[in-house]
Amino acid sequence: MPNPFLKRQMEHDVWATEQMLARCRKLSPEQLDLTTVGTFGTIRRTLGHIVAADERYLARLLGAWDEAPLRETPDLMLDEIAVHLAHVREGIERLFSGSTLDADRLIPDTPLRRYAPNSPRIEMYVWVPAAQLINHGVDHRSHINTILATHGLETVDLQVWPYAMELGASREAKDK
């Protein structure tokens, strides 16, 4: 399989956002609008920002994005975020379904600039949005955990360890 490490890393990223979304579904509307200093904003806004950004990174990597991207508004509903998170999961599958991803290929533009035609065209190599997708999700999920903990609410363990155990990619060693 081409780029197995990177694919797994991105799959973990989606899994972690799904876990956070599931946690957020147990919060009240008032709790979803909690925040704390030093973070991005409210829980709701941060979760929407994670998924909207994922769509932007994948659109750039894939060179096409058929669905209208998630719009980052303060009153986003979790169901709407979930629909777009499913698009992100599908996008990752498409990204790794063909030949090996060439990290050094220059991407001249994003297809999503049609939604903001006055924005500048930014060129970047493939590895940049790929690395940013992973960094960005962890960064902002950490913000949500910080907000939850600050307000005495249960946080979520989103490390790779529980993900691996859920997949059966880790098991107790019988020998030494």
Partner: protein, 161 residues
């Protein structure tokens, strides 16, 4: 062709160094600041990042880079910088010839090497985010350590016409 994971690990190494260099310029009192909902003080969180990365590299490659960082024993920022530069470089070297499916034993469980590389990246990102939250909560503008920041620092992204 460069493997994409290679550059994810390069970003991780760069971000650790960049953040520790930034924090090394703060006064000693600032390093003891914290904010609710994070791991601990700035100093403790940075030590945890470095200590964990030493452990991951030892698990993957069988060698400890630098003297083990004990999270309860404060270490100077310049020492942390040297160690994290070494662990970052070693992670890149190991991943370049490693097999994602290679089985290793860690904490009494069997894992694939790919899981540990993924955890290196996740763990660094998570705790760097907490360091930035502490900085922001204490009125200090945190440095940009995203992949965008790395790409711009390395001159690898530019505006087109």
């Amino acid at each position: 062709m460069t493997a994409a994971l290679d550059l994810v690990l390069r970003h991780n190494a760069w971000a650790n160094r960049y953040l520790i260099e930034f924090c090394a310029r703060l006064d000693a009192g600032a390093l003891e600041r914290a904010t609710p909902g994070t791991y601990g003080t700035l100093s403790a969180t940075l030590q945890h990042i470095v200590s964990a990365e030493q452990g991951y590299i030892e698990t993957l490659g069988g060698e400890m880079i630098g003297a083990p960082v004990e999270e309860t024993v404060p270490r100077p920022m310049d020492e942390l910088l040297v160690i994290v530069t070494g662990t970052g470089q070693r992670a890149i070297e190991l991943a370049s010839r490693d097999d994602a499916a290679r089985e290793i034993t860690f904490d009494g469980r069997r894992w694939s090497a790919g899981v540990v590389y993924a955890q290196i990246v996740h763990h660094g990102n998570e705790h760097r985010a907490q360091v930035k939250s502490i900085l922001g909560a204490n009125g200090i503008e945190p440095p940009g350590v995203s992949a965008w920041g790395y790409a711009m620092d390395a001159g690898l992204v530019r505006s087109g016409s």
